[in-house]
Structure formats: C-alpha cells, structure tokens
Symmetry: C2
Subunit: 382 residues, 2 copies
DNA sequence: CATCCCCTCTTGAACGTTCAAACCCTCAGA
DNA sequence: TCTGAGGGTTTGAACGTTCAAGAGGGGATG
C-alpha cells in the first residue's frame, strides 16, 4: 500500500517477464490467452497501474492535452468556454487523455506558455479556443509540428497582417478544427421571426473584422435576403456588452422605420436589447403593441397568448445562464459535441485509422473539419 | 530544433557534467558563480527545459495539482467554481505547478478517479471543491497520505453518517482548507439593510444540513439578533433554483407581517425573489411603496432617489454574472485569493518553511486554515 | 609534511517503462 | 535428421533526470 506497485511486481507474481506484462497491456494479441489471464489477475490483485512518467520517458507520449482557461471577460459569455472545457475533460478522459490547464493573457504570453509546456510536461496536443483574424498561434504550433485542434475556424487573414511569426495566412495547409455554424444559427433565429410574421428584423452585432461576428451576421443577412427583404439599415455594430447593446438597440427601435424584432450576436447584446425594449415600452415610446411584464417576459397587450400586433422580439446567442434566467430566447451551441469533436480529431491524428477503414468515404485528405449545427432555444422573449 | 535538448547537451556545451547542470537548476548555491553563468548561458542558447517526466521518475514529484471541473448545475452558480478554477491555474503556475482536470459525477466516481490518477499521472496534490456533510473524499485521501486542500471547510458529520469509508468524522485531524466566511457576508448584507432602516429582513436559504447554507443563514440570524430583532418566521428554506426562490419569496412577501427586504443564500434564489417582488408589485399586492422599473431596478415610487417608504430590497450571494446583468446586489467571494490560498497551503506542505522562519507567530501546528472575508457589492436592488 | 576539511565538480546507479532483438519451443516440410 | 518458420516469451538497453558517493585540489591545521 505504501510503496508503488511496478510492472516487475506484477511480472513476479504472474511468473512472467516484465515485457509480457507490458504486452498484456499494450498488445494483448501477442500473448497466449492463459498467460494473459494470469497476468491480468496479478494486475488486479496488486492494483497495478502503469506509471505515466515512465511510460512517457520511453514512448514520448504524455497522454496530456493542454488547453487554456480564459478569464470570463464580461462574465456572461464566459460560461460558454467553461461548458466546452467540461465537455473536453469528459471526452478526453474517455479517450484516455487528461486536460492540462494553463492561463494566459495575450497571444505573446500564450505562446510563451506553449514553449514552456512543450519543454516540460510535453502535452501530446493543444486545443485552442477563441480563434481570431491573424491568430499567430496555429502557425507557431505548426512550425514545430505540434498537434493541435482549434475550436473555431481559422478566420483567414483579412484584417491586419498578423504578427512577425506570420499569422494565419490564407493558403496555408489547414489544420483540424471544430466549429459551430453560427450563420446557420442566426439564420434559423431570423427565419423563426419571419415565420412569426416579422419583416423588419434587425441584427445587433460586432464591428466587422471578427470572424465569429461576421459569420453570425451573414446568417441573418442570408435569411432576410432569402425572404426578399433588404437588410440595409436594419443592423448595428457595437462592442460586446450589455450597455453597448442597449444603446445600439435603442437606435434601431427608434429609427424612422423601427424594427420589430432583433437577432443578436451574443446574449450580452441581447440582454441590453431587452433593457432597451423595456424602458422604451415603459415610457410609451415604442410603436409596437407588445409589452414586457415585470418578469422580463414579452407578452401581448390585452390577453395573454393572443397575437394582436407584433410584440418586439429578441433572440440572443450562446444560450448562457443569463438567457435562461431572464427568459431570453437564444441560439445554443452544442458544446459537448464540439468538445468530443476536438478529441476525436486529435485521437485520429495520434492513431490514424487504418487506410482501408470502412468509414472513410472522402478521398484525398482525412476529414479534419467539423462544422456543427446549433439549435434555437425558444423562451418568453420570442 | 527537431530533437529534444537534454541535460547532457547542455553539459557538453558548457564543458561540465550532467550533475553540475542539474545543480545549477536545483541547488545553484553549490556551483561556483563562473560555472553557473556558463551553464546558464548554455541553457539559454540551447533553449533547454528539464523533462518533467524524467524528473518525475527520479523525484516522484509531478508538479501537477488535480482538481475537478463541475458541470454547472443550474448554470447560474456554476461560474463561481469557474472563476476559482481560473485563479487556481494562475496561482499554481506562479508556484511552478500545473492544473490537471478531471470530471466526475458522484463521490464514488470521483474517488475512482483519484485512484486512477494516483496510479498514472501521480499528481502531487488534490484540490477539492464543494465540500459537504459526510464528505468521504478527505478520508480516502488522508488514508493514503495524499496531500490535498479543500476549498470549503470540513462541515463535520452532522447529517447522515457518511459512506462506508467513514466520511468526515468530527475530531479527525483536520486537513488544510480555505474558505470564505459566508456568515460574515450575509451578516454584512443584513446590517446594510438594517442601516437603510429595514427591520423585517427575511432570509431565503436552503434546507438545514448543508454546511454552506447553514453558515450563510447563521450570519443573517446573528445580525438580526444583534439588532434586537427576533428572526423567527422571517426565513424560508427551499432548494436552489429561480422558481423555488420565487415561490418561497412570495410566501415571505405575502405573510401577515411581510418582510421588506431579503437576504438570499444564492443569486439563483435572489433572482427568483426579484421576480416575486416584481410580479407582486405589478399586480398591486405589495404593501411597501417601492416598485421595480422595467429594467429590473428597484426605485422609489414618485421621485427617483427619494426615500419615501421602504422599497423591497434583495441581496444575493456569489456575485455571479447574472447578478451583474440584472442589477442584483450580492455578496462577492474573493475567489482569486481563495485559489491563491489553496496553492499557498499546498506549497507549504511540499516545502515546509524553515522552523525558525520569521513569520510563524502561532505556536503548535502550522497555519493550515484560511478563512477569507467576502465583500458586499451593491447594485440597484438594494 | 601529513592530515583534515571544504569547495567544486564528476561518476555510476536508479527511477519504471517499452523497444529491438534474441531466444526457445514446436511443428511442417524436405 | 535437418532446416525453416513462427508463436510465445525473455533479455538488454535506453529514455533524461537526480541521488549518493566519490574525486581532485587548495588551504588551514597540527
């Protein structure tokens, strides 16, 4: 109990050599069944577990996946990455890996941490979150042949030219990534509002240049255009934040031709929009006939459940706890699946499936991109 | 660049032996200054980093701290542990440690994971969160002499008798822990309301038996009694959740002698309470003269800023993003400090300070308990 | 001049695992 | 009977580090 059980202890007890025990664990098919059982019995009886450190020395594999834990910026959207992280931990464990955390402020310090980790704990792979235009991290890792997956597409190199180490240049060999189809999410939200009879559906997003933000805006545009509506003048771009959202939403609600519904790029913005709707409604400045109850729900004036006129509807993005708490409809990302996808891509990198595997329909390169579909969670706000 | 730089490479370049390089890293005082500089130059030039795996093999230390990532239950309180986790990662890194994550559902599977980790990755310590009555985890770890710290006090063994492995029996040698003084937080909140002129201040908490919940209730009791007020009949116990909180708050607000302010054990409950206040106010069933605006702010009827009558005030606990989003006052836990405290206690376990250290005022045992003070964050709701 | 000590540095071994190669059977085929 | 093949198992070495012990060279001490 006190001292550690080694492979030699197991070997002695089972009356075989170290290597045979090792084979039982790593290549059981090489060992005769009877011997295998005997070894397994010994392993069980002694409670043997292979030392990861020793194994790593020999094989060079740590069975560790490193990822970053981000401080929740505005506090609302932070929970998204936390849920992803939980999914990652669970999926990794199922595949025999553990998650190693690191914290880093900016890109520079994150890359310094890469350097540090690669030299010391030697993780087998990295999972990068929050990809952005000109992201220098993939290039750094690729140069060193370090396996990694990003949660988030590589967003090309539209804005600035990236850092000295190159950034993410278009045409680079693409790396494995998993992402959620944000455009599909906002399109679904927009279509939902169209189905409810809305025509002047606005969009509250971020300034152009952020891949995620542009993607989400594009879904809204696509859905409107598809319904024969000109999106011009129906959107606003602002920084992410409740106060920012409130201000921008106010502009859209008080325009000459005010919007009657709003799709937002985040729950923070949507929450701000809800505030704007409420305060304008309270002060009687809103033309639509809907009104908000004190609970923050949008109900129809007159009878509950009726459909007289079009209440102002708001739909957020990310389905954060805040959305749930205030009854805000929101586009929900399948975070557990995204995490599982990341682990799946990584394990495929480590142990490439046999060439003649049945499930490899696509010719050419292996399948290294996963784009998941979000779902629309409807609550009182729409 | 491709192959790994080892200590031997450094030794060769600096013209010394392996061991000298090792000494420069681990016991620099043993090496002559000139040699030290030469070795350091070589380390720098080659970009050498000691292999953690090899080091672990020899020393038995992994420089890994394992902790659990919890799925956010109701989604609102989840962010507390995430913020703690972030602090833990940052503090650990500063002390030269990394955080290894695991996910586990119940106590049984968590202990199975302990077993697994101890045999494979061999973390140097565990950090346990969310301690509870009859918590079997500390006993399991202590039996095996595995270092650990809990974020949360050991809550004795009041309720059930614990699991088969013993649970946390009173009188057991206590383990190191860090916690936040919840009672002080609710007491401060209560006193704030007393100062504002409230007398009938209610408490919305959880059923007795949860250490954290009882602690938070006790602060409210203490403050009321200190002001000469009998707390009887002013509190409610319910499960944690927005709907539960709304229901319980409604009861308190519609009692014969209704409360005029409410201290809550969580932001979830407080959010429910806010909902109750709003809907009762909207339907004119609330006797107090305060009312809520559509933004969810409590303002005084008539002029803003005035103090006619006593608006119903609500204070939550944990200062979650939701509280910030809806303008809910809340008791804020110093999570970064708590995390730093955990790491501090652990490093003290690994490298005990020299006996004659200057800052060791307390005689007898070392200081292994840290109780931090929370702070009250005031927003519109109070 | 011998002895001892201290400072600085080096050498061999060990941590627990897996790789590569060899070994020992048994059996089939010549 | 010999040869070759091949399944099943063992042996030696190696991964990169630190521990324990020792070596070499002053300088102080007797």
């Amino acid at each position: 109990m006190a001292t550690k059980v080694t492979i030699t202890d197991v070997a002695r007890r089972a009356g075989v050599s170290r290597q045979t025990v090792s084979n039982v664990l790593n290549s059981p098919e090489l060992v005769r069944e009877e011997t295998r059982d005997r070894v397994r019995e010994a392993i069980e009886a002694l409670g043997y577990r292979a030392s990861q450190a020793a194994r790593q020395m020999r094989t060079g594999r740590s069975r560790l996946i490193a990822t970053r834990i981000e401080p929740d910026r505005d506090g609302i959207n932070g929970s998204v990455l936390d849920r992803f992280l939980h999914g990652l931990t669970a999926s990794a464990a199922r595949a025999g890996y553990r998650i190693l955390l690191y914290a880093a402020g900016d890109e520079r310090s994150e890359i310094d941490t890469f350097d540090d980790l690669v030299g010391s704990h030697e993780p087998d792979a990295f999972v990068l979150t929050s990809t952005y235009h000109g992201d220098g991290r993939p290039a750094w890792l690729r140069e060193r042949r370090l396996p990694f997956v990003t949660f988030g597409r590589p967003w090309g190199n539209a804005g600035n030219a990236g850092g000295a180490s190159g950034g993410e240049a278009a045409g680079d060999p693409e790396h494995p990534w998993v992402d959620v189809d944000g455009a599909a999410g906002t399109a679904a939200a927009t279509r939902h509002l169209l189905d409810a009879g809305h025509r002047r559906i606005g969009f509250l997003g971020w300034p152009p240049g952020s891949g995620v933000g542009d993607d989400r805006r594009s879904g809204w545009t696509r859905a409107l255009v598809g319904a024969g509506i000109d999106p011009a003048g129906l959107d606003q771009a602002t920084d992410d934040g409740v106060a920012d959202g409130e201000k921008a939403a106010r502009d859209l609600l008080r325009a000459e031709q005010p919007i009657t519904a709003l799709v937002c790029a985040s729950d923070s913005l949507a929450l701000g929009a809800l505030h704007a709707v409420r305060s304008l409604t309270a002060s009687g400045q809103l033309t639509a006939s809907g009104r908000l109850t004190a609970e923050g729900r949008l109900t129809v004036a007159g009878q509950a459940g009726g459909e007289e006129g079009l209440p102002v509807r708001v739909i957020g993005f990310d389905d954060t706890p805040v959305a749930k708490a205030v009854g805000l409809s929101s586009v929900s990302q399948p975070l557990a699946e995204a995490a599982a996808g990341c682990v799946g891509l990584l394990t495929r990198l480590f142990d490439p499936p046999s060439p003649g595997a049945p499930d490899a329909p696509e010719a050419g390169g292996p399948r290294t991109h996963v784009l998941l579909q979000p779902s629309l969670v409807l609550r009182q706000s729409s």
